[in-house]
Amino acid sequence: MSNSTLVSVEWLQAHLDDAKLRILDVRVADPRLPMGYRAAHIPGALPFDLNRDMYEMTPGGPRLQSPDAIAAFLSACGIANDSTIVLYDENIGPLVGSAYWLLKYLSHADVRVLNGGWHAWTRAQAPTTQDIPQRAPTAYRAELDETQHSVAAWIQEHCARADLVLLDTRMDNEYRMGHLPGAVNLAFDAALNFETQTLKDETLLRAQFEKVGATADKEIVVYCRSGARSAHTFMVLQTLGYPRVRNYKGSMLDWADRRGLPLE
């Protein structure tokens, strides 16, 4: 297998029958929208609903299920610790970013993302199906990798470091209404080519991040409102090879709404 996080339709078509490959469909499932896994999906793919499969609803908002509960779900999907997981969305939006970050947080080594997602797959007239694959269960072991994650206390302890960048990935009007002290802003969707529904060219992406000071030699903490849009930027930075990126999953809901910490 190649080492690239971002894979093309051609690459995925060529590897559909690989024994270690597992495909997860993270698209929205809304009965009002005639799309999503039930309508058709990539052969071999299983549905992956973040809210249903990874989070539990609590009075304070969605909370990540325990690593054991998530491991049980991944085991039932036939995913092993050495599986190559390919994720796809309608295009390449925040849902696939959230799933990517989550699997990296669970220490899964080999996670790929289909650039352009379902749109690219169907545009290329690649095969689709309504068949639901049956996989033999595995014994997945999930361990949280806290180097992929940040919490408020960690940010408060490290925010004065010259090699740390706080990157707010919300829209610029949200940023202007209040952000973490010292944070710079680059909206998550600045990474998207809206015409092709793919990520922008690597050179352009790198230039955009460097323009706001988020260079690869820095440790980057990304955040947004609830950690989903920032997870997308986390994914983009990892595709660019940034070695030190953390997603503040709690984001503004935790920093401002729950803890009342200062904004600027």
Binding site: V28, D30, R32, L33, P34, M35, E90, G93, P94, L95, S98, R170, M171, D172, N173, E174, M177, G178, A187, D189, F194, C224, R225, S226, A228, R229, A256, L263
Partner: protein
């Protein structure tokens, strides 16, 4: 007091929506992901009205849809809790 301050855009009074999509109870990122998917079901030039029930979505959904090239025609608070965003598909 909420720090959210959505930009109010009065929708034209003679406007008629082709589709209305109720996203009450949904939060980021599902609000703009589903708004975008609803637009994908429509023809260029058609008008979608989206209802959200939090000021944050009324702040970021219009900008997100604008970034994708659509024209936001209105963003108004329609009662104590709900906001109506009116957008013409590019």
């Amino acid at each position: 007091m909420s720090r959210w301050n959505p930009i109010i855009i009065p929708a034209p009074s003679d406007l008629s929506a082709d589709e209305t999509f109720d996203l009450k109870g949904e939060v980021c990122p599902y609000t703009f992901v589903k708004s975008k998917l609803a637009l994908e079901m429509m023809e260029s030039g058609q008008i979608l009205q989206v209802i959200v029930d939090n000021a944050e979505s009324a702040t970021n959904v219009p900008q997100s849809l604008t970034n994708e090239g659509n024209a936001v025609l209105g963003c108004e608070q329609i009662n104590a809790t709900d906001w109506m965003i009116t957008v013409r598909k590019k």
